[in-house]
């Protein structure tokens, strides 16, 4: 062979590639999905169009002042933004928090506990105070669920991937137990779910079903951008991830930061759960754990842990989910198409990442050296 392809390390990661790779990954994933859809006997063009219109609406709907599709996408983006931000700050110090799903559920559980049981205990208490209490409770519920793996990791070096993951299942089973069992609404005609929360504990709505939780997400992104990208503490957290030894020499307490950061991480996921129960369902029921916590991991990673990019990626992936539901309703295609596309985007991006730090070079190999140089 006169030519061979050689990987050459770039001196600096390519900025162009940092933007080009995610876009190209998205396009390639759509192409891959098109092949899959065509094989399944569906018209890819019509399917994607139905997904797009399902997620953002049609121009006719906009002209008529109907933004239902768009607000639905933002509704789904809300937990992704909050949980994605949560996951991202743990990832900054390479703490692999795979437990956002469980932390989200525990946040919803804590907020639900407040909404259901606190008002009867405090009669005559001003009703507007319960919503802020629920916000705090939701964050604490998620933070507590993050605290367990954080302490195990920080002080006993227990692998956090496994612990956070196992805690997901425990949290989901726990909340299921509650709304199927002791917390089940006696007036619910056997429907698994708690009683409706009192109306003053509902998050105010902005438009359609879009609620204040979306604003929480924007505020959280701004705070994280301010604190983690522009303070010494934010730098220390990144240092723990990149070079723990250097962090230790610099006098950074690794154990304390793991616990602190993971609690904030879990707290944000918990807030996502709180926003979901207090903004949408107004009760604990099936549908709280639908995989937002896992999608949040993709969000954080695709956004390269940048808080503003997390908002953008969340909306994009939420659009995929809403669009996926839409093609199930309209075209009878599996909603899991959205998951397949998400996985494919990740694969292409993972593969494409090599171009940011390496460049491909065609090398003309000298015949006499070609066999010995590769050594294979």
């Amino acid at each position: 062979m006169p030519f061979s392809v050689k990987l050459e390390k770039r001196l600096e990661p390519s900025q162009t590639m940092a933007y080009l790779v995610p876009v190209a990954s998205f396009v390639l994933a759509l192409l891959f999905g098109a092949v899959l859809l065509a094989l399944a006997g569906a018209n890819p063009w019509h399917t994607y169009r139905a997904m797009l219109e399902g997620a953002f609406g049609t121009p006719e709907q906009w002209r008529a002042g109907q933004f239902y599709s768009l607000t639905e996408t933002l509704v789904k983006a809300t937990p992704l933004i909050l949980a994605g931000l949560g996951v991202s700050i743990a990832f900054r110090m390479l703490f692999w928090n795979i437990g956002a799903e469980g932390q989200l559920v525990m946040g919803g559980f804590a907020a639900g506990a407040v909404a259901l049981w606190l008002p009867p205990m405090l009669p005559g208490w001003p009703t507007w105070t319960f919503l802020p209490i629920m916000v705090v409770a939701g964050m604490m519920g998620g933070a507590f669920w993050g605290l367990i793996p954080a302490v195990l990791k920080a002080y006993l070096k227990v692998n956090e991937i496994i612990t956070t993951l196992m805690l997901n299942y425990i949290a989901i089973l726990w909340v299921q137990y509650l709304y199927y069992g002791p917390w089940k609404d006696p007036q619910g005609y056997g429907f698994p779910g708690t009683a409706l929360f009192p109306e003053y504990t509902w998050l105010p709505r902005i438009s359609g079903r879009l609620h204040l939780g979306f604003v929480f997400g924007l505020i959280a992104a701004a705070l994280i951008w301010l604190v983690l990208d522009h303070t010494r503490w934010g730098y220390e957290i990144r240092l723990i991830g990149e070079n723990p030894r250097a962090a230790r020499y610099a006098g950074v307490s690794i154990a304390r930061n793991i616990v602190l950061v993971t609690c904030i991480s879990g707290g944000l996921a918990g807030l996502a759960g709180m926003a979901d129960v207090a903004g949408i369902s107004y009760r604990l029921q099936q549908g709280l754990a639908v995989g937002y916590g896992f999608t949040a991991i993709i969000v954080a990673w695709l956004a390269r842990l940048n808080p503003w990019a997390i908002i953008l990626v969340s909306i994009l992936l939420a659009a995929l989910l809403v669009g996926g539901d839409q093609i199930q309703i309209v075209m009878g295609l599996p909603a899991s198409t959205a998951l397949v596309l998400q996985g494919a985007i990740l694969f292409f991006m993972l593969g494409g990442n090599i171009f940011t730090s390496y460049r491909l070079r065609l090398v003309r190999s000298v015949p006499s050296l070609s066999t010995s140089a590769t050594g294979e």
Partner: protein, 318 residues
């Protein structure tokens, strides 16, 4: 009465533990080669759905097994290509594989039935229980261990085989070497990249086989979320077993046993809510993991593959 109860619990334990054993041994082989593949859940569920679909359409359970192994191997090949050749992050790539596999399995499950209909609720070929002569007549444990389906017996053979190859043969030595010290292995003339590919794919094939046991023998048929986290338990079991196929048996028995006792208690109308029993395997995994990690000296002696999760780059030779 108590003996009968013990025997019936052991029967279910072995059945429930079989898919876990396949997946665990597969992941042990992959991790021994230095590659962490968190995509077990995705490969397993894809193995389960494709095994059932292939068996359903061909009316051959064995063809189902073969399909599951090919599919598991192909999915693992994606992981191998991304992490070995393109040097992508192993954690994220494995997670992507799980998300992708879970989504694709659900997609295929709704399309691969007769005439493009869903597979859910279809009845297809399965592996029936076969009693082994003589062995099945051993008192108490005979029926539990030797009146099982064929894939259980294959697993009985696989465990000692995997152990023997890993510890007593030259290829096994190379496998451990590329996960322990790839640079040394390379200097010895071992093809590190090639073998890492081989063992990642082989591991994926075994994980796929574990999925096939679920849909063709343990709970024949296809339902959404059939694996229900078993792939993740297998990853925990690898650590539990400290990367030793023989020790994995103890772990799989333990986890299979929890499943079996759960079955029993539910059948007996137990007063403990099912939710708490369902939590048990997950809580147990955490507890076991804590104990293993705590026992740092022990762990160092038995040794996790030192180069686990670290991409191998020849030019950056240490």
């Amino acid at each position: 009465m108590e003996i009968a109860l013990f025997a019936s619990i052991l029967t279910i334990t072995v059945r429930a533990g079989t898919s876990l054993m396949y997946a665990t041994i597969g992941e042990i082989i992959t991790e021994r080669a230095g590659i962490l593949n968190l995509g077990v859940e995705g490969m397993m569920i894809m193995g389960a759905v494709t095994a059932f679909a292939a068996a359903f359409h061909s009316d051959s359970a064995w063809l189902g097994v073969a399909t599951a192994m090919v599919v598991g191997g192909l999915l693992a090949l994606i992981h191998a290509f991304l992490t070995i050749t393109l040097r992508a992050d192993q954690t994220v790539s494995g997670l992507a594989l799980t998300i992708f596999g879970t989504g694709l399995a659900s997609f295929l499950g709704q399309r691969l039935g007769p005439d493009g209909m869903p597979l859910v609720g279809q009845v297809g070929p399965r592996f029936h229980k076969v009693a082994l002569p003589v062995l099945a007549e051993i008192p108490v444990i005979g029926l539990a261990l030797f009146h099982q389906d064929v894939l259980v017996y294959v697993m009985y053979l696989l465990v000692p085989l995997a152990w023997y190859i890993l510890y007593k043969t030259r290829p096994g030595l190379h496998l451990r070497a590329i996960g322990e010290s790839p640079h040394t292995a390379d200097a010895m003339g071992v093809n590190v990249i090639g073998l890492r590919y081989l063992y990642t794919v082989l591991g994926g094939m075994l994980v796929g086989l574990g999925g096939a046991h679920l849909s063709l023998a343990y709970t024949p048929g296809w339902t959404e979320n059939l694996t229900s986290g078993r792939g993740w338990i297998a990853i925990a079991l690898v650590i539990f077993a400290t990367w030793d196929p023989a020790r994995a048996v103890i772990g799989a028995l333990l986890f299979g046993g929890v499943n079996a006792i759960q079955f029993r208690l539910q059948a007996a109308g137990a007063t403990i809510p099912a939710a708490f029993l369902n939590m048990l395997p997950y809580a147990l995994t955490i507890i076991v993991l804590v104990i293993i990690t705590w026992w740092e000296a022990f762990r160092k002696r038995v040794g996790a593959p030192a180069a686990l999760g670290i991409p191998y780059m020849r030019e950056e030779r240490a």
